[in-house]
């Protein structure tokens, strides 16, 4: 895992995933990220996943596709996925694609953390 593109940590049963790259654009990178998060989902009985975009400047439709697949897999296991810290320009991409209706999006990771409890 020395070439991991993610920082993964656990707080109160919630897995926080942060990106190392500022740009999540290319296929190989997205596939690696996707596989790493999928293994987190598969290893949990009921996955509680919080993905923070605090370092991210750009993402592509392929990255959105990977997030959707991650969301579908989380739901298959009756888990929860929350997103946080999305830059306003990137949030606009979610709005244009109406994916803000599909995902639970929060301004901060603290806000997202409390959404898991509720």
């Amino acid at each position: 895992m020395s070439d991991s593109r993610l920082k993964i940590s656990n707080t109160d049963g919630v897995t926080l995933v942060e990106f190392i790259d500022r740009n999540i654009l290319d296929e190989a990178n997205i596939q690696a990220i996707s596989e790493e998060i999928t293994s987190v989902i598969e290893s949990a009985d009921v996955p509680k996943l919080l993905i923070s975009f605090s370092n991210v400047d750009h993402l592509s439709s392929a990255a959105l596709g990977a997030l959707i697949t991650i969301n579908n897999k989380t739901r298959e296991k009756s888990g929860q996925l929350h997103l946080a810290n999305i830059d306003p320009q990137i949030y606009e991409v979610f709005v244009i694609t109406r994916l803000n209706k599909l995902f639970n999006i929060h301004e901060t990771t603290d806000e997202a953390q409390s959404a898991f409890a509720s």
């Binding site: 290319d26 750009h58 592509s60 959105l64 244009i96 694609t97």
Partner: protein, 160 residues
């Protein structure tokens, strides 16, 4: 002179209206392989030209997103069943009022009007099919040639 004129008329007839819409005058042409570093540096190079013509941050965000989507589509879908080493062609021209970028692959093409609307409720959870709609959302206009293997993106600077 007469010969020149007839040659021009002949050329015009050989290109359909929609193919003409995807041409760029005085473009810089680049043959691009499927290599992340090369793709990244070409996009940076195009954006540097745009910065030089005072395109702002939100314009640069839009342009980067649209070019990424066009290049990804060319390799992922256009060259889906072709040799992975085949390159695509990228053309661009930038001035103070607009930026034009064309991306052409060597594939069989597709029909953009057949694409399902990814924003419909029944398509929201599908992981693919958002590239063309994002290009259209962020660019001033997006045109495909008849064959569907070439797309031209045009973005007008908001300050003009």
């Amino acid at each position: 002179m007469g010969n020149c004129l007839s040659a021009v008329i002949y050329l015009d007839r050989s290109v359909s209206m929609s193919d003409k819409n995807t041409q760029i005058q005085n473009a810089t042409k680049v043959v691009l392989e499927r290599n992340r570093d090369k793709i990244g540096s070409l996009i940076d190079q195009i954006l540097e030209h745009a910065k030089g013509h005072a395109f702002g941050d939100s314009s640069l965000f839009a342009i980067r997103l649209a070019i990424e989507e066009a290049i990804t589509n060319a390799f992922e879908h256009g060259h889906e069943n072709l040799d992975a080493s085949l390159p695509i062609q990228v053309e661009y021209a930038v001035n103070e009022t607009e930026i034009q970028i064309a991306v052409q692959d060597q594939g069989p093409g597709f029909s953009p009007s057949d694409l399902p609307d990814p924003t419909l409720q029944e398509n929201l959870a599908k992981p693919s099919g958002r590239g063309v709609m994002l290009m259209k959302a962020y660019m001033t206009d997006v045109a495909f040639n008849d064959k569907g293997n070439r797309v031209k993106l045009r973005f007008e600077s908001p300050s003009f």
